[in-house]
Amino acid sequence: MKADLDARGEILKLARVLGVPPSRLDSLAAVPVDDLRLLRARVTDVLFDANLPTLRRMAAASRLIPAPVVAKIAERTFGPLLCARIAGLVDPARGVDVAKRLSTRFLADVAVDLDPRRANEIISGIPTPVVVSVARELAGREDWITIGRFVGHLRDSAISACLEVLGDAALLEVAFVLDDKARIDHVVRLLPSSRFGGVVGAAADSGHWESVFDLISHVSPVRREKFVAALKDLPEDTRASAEAAASELGVELDLS
């Protein structure tokens, strides 16, 4: 079941890269998730490199123009896709200066198309309040995939600030589709222990137990114990529901 969900997430991400509805990629449903991940990385590289000479010249030309004018051109003419392609080619300080002048909505649109691997320095240089605004915008769109793609590229202070505006249910959604699952424990370390109960409660409310089991499976033993303790604190019938879901999903869970 987990592999199916991961594959669906990968197909959705690839569809975004190609600018097509996910239904156009239905034929990929049976492809193993690791191969889908590899395919997405390859396609991303192909598209980012396809017009590299032109993009490089545009990035160079942007240095001749005042940052406020570049921001205006970015929003009115270039649009989010081209800005995402160019972002990794401009001087990071310049990129941050321009990014600060863009509207939150536009930055969120750029984030959808951006390859964070190629714009790491800009992403980590964007002021925390701007990052939080974009995270809030993306959460409003329920775009957990985009938020999840950026987690591995943000400073801890920015992640902590984002955690404050992301609700417990949103946090579960993001963790479930996180690009780099190895980051989950690090992110959860930044989460106040007082929210562990809320996170478990969000899974109980939605019945989306696999998301919390997935989260628990990626954290350190100490934090796993805290989540299990929060599960044990649930009302008896809810606890029974969690145990039934765990059994169905093949997850070892003892809440007695």
Partner: protein
Amino acid sequence: MVERQRRTLGEQLGGDPPAGVRALPGPDQQALADLIGDARRAQGAALAKAGEDGLKYVPALLRGAVRKAVGL
């Protein structure tokens, strides 16, 4: 009208696709290759248009230098 040569998935990706994708039926692989080709062409066209349209917002004094730098 000359019909554009369709590139295979391997040609679009610049090498063999991942094993699980190679195992797909030929028509499905070609459909995927076509989607990548479409995305490349759309991106190229958008870039060319953006280069011209963007110049409208560049101050007149800088327009020549920017045009030269972009190669328009």
